[in-house]
């Protein structure tokens, strides 16, 4: 039977996971590597949970572990440059640790908002996120310039952000 401590750790982890995942993704662009790092962090958390001081923030602790794992990742891949310096990582770690459940909840509207994108935007979104293509590859596929693809993706993100906010407000008002 799973013990109480593991159960508590898993419950904490479930709540912290979106912020930890995004923290890793902000520094590691390869999706597969992000997945693997996230798994490493989850294991490290379960293995070391007994050392966690529960008077402190679990999310901060988890992000600290993610920070170490990500640092080790870049240490192993010496030809891969660090995206951010330590000051920026520190500031981001603090900001990610401060993410509240209320600020994550609106993301549940994401699928609805993606469905509402026009077909061109949806195609761009698919190629970027589902096919994991970079703007240059998307541009080649669609006969566009890489710059226009980048701008298109920026507009999509911006539009999804607005849509999510509007739906969250509407949902909250009901």
């Amino acid at each position: 039977m799973i013990d109480k401590q593991t159960e508590t750790a898993m419950r904490h982890w479930t709540l912290a996971q979106p912020a930890v995942s995004a923290f890793i993704a902000s520094q590691v662009h390869d999706v597969r590597q992000r997945d693997d790092l996230l798994q490493e962090v989850a294991v490290a958390i379960l293995e070391n949970y007994s050392r966690f001081d529960d008077s402190l923030s679990f999310k901060s602790w988890a992000i600290g572990i993610a920070r170490n794992q990500t640092r080790n990742y870049f240490r192993n891949f010496k030809n891969k440059p660090l995206l951010f310096d330590s000051e920026t990582v520190e500031n981001l770690a603090t900001a990610f640790a401060d993410v509240s459940p209320q600020s994550i909840e609106p993301l549940d509207f994401l699928n609805e908002c993606v469905d509402e994108l026009n077909s061109k935007a949806k195609q761009l979104c698919d190629l970027r996120y589902e096919k994991d293509l970079k703007p240059a590859a998307i541009a080649e596929k669609l006969g566009m310039t890489a710059n226009s693809v980048s701008k298109g993706l920026q507009r999509i993100r911006s539009s999804l952000k607005r849509c999510i906010e509007q739906k969250a407000i509407a949902g909250g008002a009901q």
């Binding site: 798994q39 951010f84 500031n91 900001a95 994550i104 994991d132």
Partner: protein, 353 residues
Amino acid sequence: MNESFAEDLPIEIESLVSRHFDGELDHEEHQCLQKWINARPENAKAYVGLALLHDRLLEANNQATEQRVDRVEKSLKPFSARKKNQKHLSWAIGALSSIAALLLISLFVIPMLQGTPALAAETQLEQLIEVARKSLDRTYLITSIEFRGNKRNGSKWNRKAVQEQRNRRHGRQQAPVDGALLHVRGENSYVLIRRFENGDEFVTGSDGQTSWSVPPKGRVQVSDNVERFRGEMPGNQHAIPFITLQDDLKQIRGAYNIQWRDSELASEESRSGQHCLVAEKKSAEHRGPKYIEIWFDMETGTIFEMLLDKLPQAKGGPKTVLLELLDQSEMPDDFFQHTTHHDSNRRVSYQNE
């Protein structure tokens, strides 16, 4: 909603952040982004809002793609064809550990599906654990089917090559798990026999009280820590320890969506009389392979083959691993003790931890 999901940003900053997520920034632009993030806590917070959105998009599509690709691959590629593609490559220990997930599911889920659904969860759980405790001796042949060509990250190859070089230099080349035999008994005894190309064997195992390692040369090591030599064992690095079945039952059951495989597909693969369970990992936060197939006899619960696909690749290794049941004969009582696997004149080093 109490707080804004993500602040509105100046268009040039939004462009910078967006292109950062696409990996499009040059060094100077990265410096600019960092400067902006570090300027005010509010900026870092705004970046985080967009990062959460980007990550959720990755996650949503990642899962959808994996499931779709898996389905298409399984439909188009009969099992027999997959077996023809076997490549005999030595592979890293990390990948093997996912086998634990599969064995756990095979031990727990199949009896569960055959059992009475109305049983209370706790009672059912206890019964399943009991089934695992009573499980018979089984011998599996382990085969790595396909090594993932990592086009996305060439450096992984470099890391692997460097590590292999180091290992060779120190005379401790890793024994290949491809072609290894895995003997398991009950919930905490195993013997894993790996063979080098020259025929030498590297045997690791546990009798449930101690764990041990018998290399081709040098000292035999025995530890009172049953986890000491599980580096080579399925489950060691995936938080789904092979040995502690009970502790991880909940985790396994929670981590996978389990369903019956399409019977039409099964019959196309000439497997009449056998049934197949398919388990797909719910999300990346859980460890282990993303896709699992378990072929078994419904009446006896005998598992014939188990396939682990899309194994985590952080530590290298194969993408896909196949376990084939070779034998269910009862092993001798002392089979899971180290003394059975080496000459009596070998030096044995005992470690108390």
